[in-house]
């Protein structure tokens, strides 16, 4: 079943002279892990903000968990269904103690105290930050802060979590931490994940990759289908993962080798085949 559906979604910023989104029609399956790629200014963030009713469509419709985001009376239902994590962890942490920050959404929902306690402990455990419950967020590393921010969104028990470049400000180890936590959420709790990223290796972990260009969906498919189109990706100003590029460079026509080599193992397999041929 689709948890998010957009129909011919169009959006133009107030003072802009062209559309930031022009006719995006997508449907995201519940429980899936979708990565969205695209060059700077291709409309990824604008799209993400529609899934949470931060922005409302200028044209077309967005349905989140079956609810039209333009329906103001259901605003909280929309936001509870699709939680949003932003790029800069510093600018989304509200409280000065980790557990108080994670509790923020529950407090706003007016949940009873025991329920808040239960959810805070659960969500901190889900991102592996339980031992930092009483710490001050500004003393944590970037990856830890971002995991706290994720826990703060999970506390609403959303069915879907939308992340706009959550790893862009992190170092490689922080990035790995966050991606591991996200993958685990998707696999173990069946959380729908929409990950906007500039990192091909992160996108390669998803079930589905969507590439955007100038407010439109340019490519849509499994990571293998998308990343094997090296030339098309280059047109969209994106670089395929290095493994794919290597295989592609050896055999541009794809006569012997299949360019669907996303992991290092697959790439090694293809290279062996190349050497034998």
């Amino acid at each position: 079943m689709a948890i998010i559906e957009t129909k011919d979604l169009t959006f133009r910023y107030e003072d802009a002279d062209s559309d930031a989104l022009c006719g995006v029609t997508l449907s995201i399956e519940e429980g899936s892990f979708t990565a969205i790629l695209g060059h700077n200014g291709s409309g990824k963030s604008t799209f993400a903000k529609h899934l949470n009713a931060i922005l409302l469509p200028s044209g077309g419709k967005v349905y989140v968990g079956g609810v039209d985001t333009a329906d103001e009376s259901r605003l909280f239902d929309v936001r509870k269904t699709a939680g949003m994590v932003f790029q800069n962890p510093d600018n989304q942490i509200v409280a000065t103690v980790v557990e108080e920050d994670v509790a923020f959404a529950c407090e706003n929902m007016g949940l009873p105290q025991e329920e808040i306690r239960k959810r805070v402990d659960e969500c901190l455990a889900a991102v592996g930050m339980s031992e930092y419950a009483r710490h001050a967020p500004h003393l944590l590393s970037g990856g830890q802060k971002q995991r706290v921010a994720i826990a703060g969104v999970l506390a609403m028990r959303p069915r879907c979590i939308v992340m706009d470049e959550p790893t862009a400000m992190l170092d490689p180890s922080g990035r790995a931490e966050v991606i591991r936590a996200v993958q685990q959420l998707n696999r173990e709790t069946g959380m729908t994940v929409i990950l906007i990223t500039h990192h091909m290796e992160e996108a390669a972990l998803a079930d589905r990759v969507i590439v955007m260009k100038q407010g439109k969906v340019a490519l849509d498919g499994t990571p293998k289908q998308v990343f094997s189109q090296v030339d098309r990706l280059r047109e969209l100003s994106l670089a395929a993962p290095q493994t794919v590029q290597l295989v592609h460079a050896l055999d541009p026509a794809g006569t012997v080798l299949s360019p669907e080599a996303l992991s290092v193992e697959e790439c090694v397999g293809q290279l062996m085949k190349y050497l034998e041929a």
Partner: protein
């Protein structure tokens, strides 16, 4: 310079002071401050100082941290001290050029300096042992009756807690910008006060721009987490007036009352 700003820093812990209800801490602090500004004389001050030292020991906060909170106000202490020293009329002890030093002057200067030091140290002890969130909860709760006359008490408390939350972030950012400007040859250390103030302009402008951007992002993030004002909000840690608070209240009244009594009697 900036790393000395300890205002609003919180050191999590489990001491009785940490466990106290923030409302009772706040009220005791107010009582204490009133006391140090009411009393005069060696013995009352001695009681006040000892009370604070005991509180610091109980809090398990390193005394070094409490002392560090005093560093930024050193100039103010010196300034008010000197002002009082030279401008209090009374029995002249000796005099230097146009300045004359009186016995009363020395006493007032010492008292003023001590008062400011106690004021800042006790306030820092409160913020060191109380998370800003629970502090603003306490404020919101104590000012609660004002909601009836439509005063924006919740909004005020939220603003305070966010301001406190962002102090370390903005300090870090200021340091980053200053280093960046220094690397481009900016000079913050030499010159008179005017040229130094002028050198700060290229630091303040980017700082303000970034603060506005942060504010906008934070507002969006808060809305995404269903924030809609104080109405119908519950709390993870609700305020709870317990045994520790009762004991602390009795002690505080005894100490402050004792100091005031001594002041009146002596």
């Amino acid at each position: 310079m900036l790393k000395d700003i300890t205002l609003g820093q919180y050191f999590p812990g489990t001491s009785p002071l940490h466990r106290m209800d923030p409302r009772s801490k706040l009220l005791i602090l107010i009582l204490y401050i009133v006391t140090i500004f009411v009393v005069k004389g060696l013995f009352p001050y001695l009681i006040c100082v000892l009370a604070l030292i005991t509180a610091v020991i109980i809090s398990t906060i390193p005394p070094k941290m409490v002392l560090r909170s005093l560093r930024p106000i050193l100039i103010i202490v010196l300034f008010t001290g000197l002002l009082n020293l030279f401008y209090t009329p009374g029995v002249e002890l000796f005099h230097l050029w146009i300045f004359k030093i009186t016995r009363e002057g020395i006493a007032t200067a010492a008292a003023m300096a001590l008062r400011i030091i106690l004021l800042v140290a006790s306030t820092s002890l409160l913020t060191y042992t109380t998370s800003p969130m629970s502090l603003t909860d306490a404020l919101e709760n104590l000012l609660g009756p004002l909601k009836k006359i439509k005063a924006p008490v919740h909004e005020f408390a939220m603003m305070m807690s966010i301001a406190l939350r962002f102090i370390p972030t903005l300090i870090e950012e200021t340091n980053k910008i200053m280093s960046a400007q220094k690397a481009r040859g900016a000079d913050f250390e030499s010159g008179n006060i005017f040229s130094r103030a002028k050198a700060l302009v290229p630091v303040l402008v980017p700082l303000f721009v970034s603060a506005f951007r942060r504010a906008e992002e934070l507002a969006t993030a808060m809305e995404c987490r269903l924030y809609h004002g104080g109405e119908g909000r519950t709390r993870l840690h609700s305020l709870h007036y317990g045994r520790v608070d009762l004991i602390a209240a009795i002690l505080a009244v005894a100490v402050c009352g004792g100091a005031i009594a001594l002041h009146i009697l002596l």
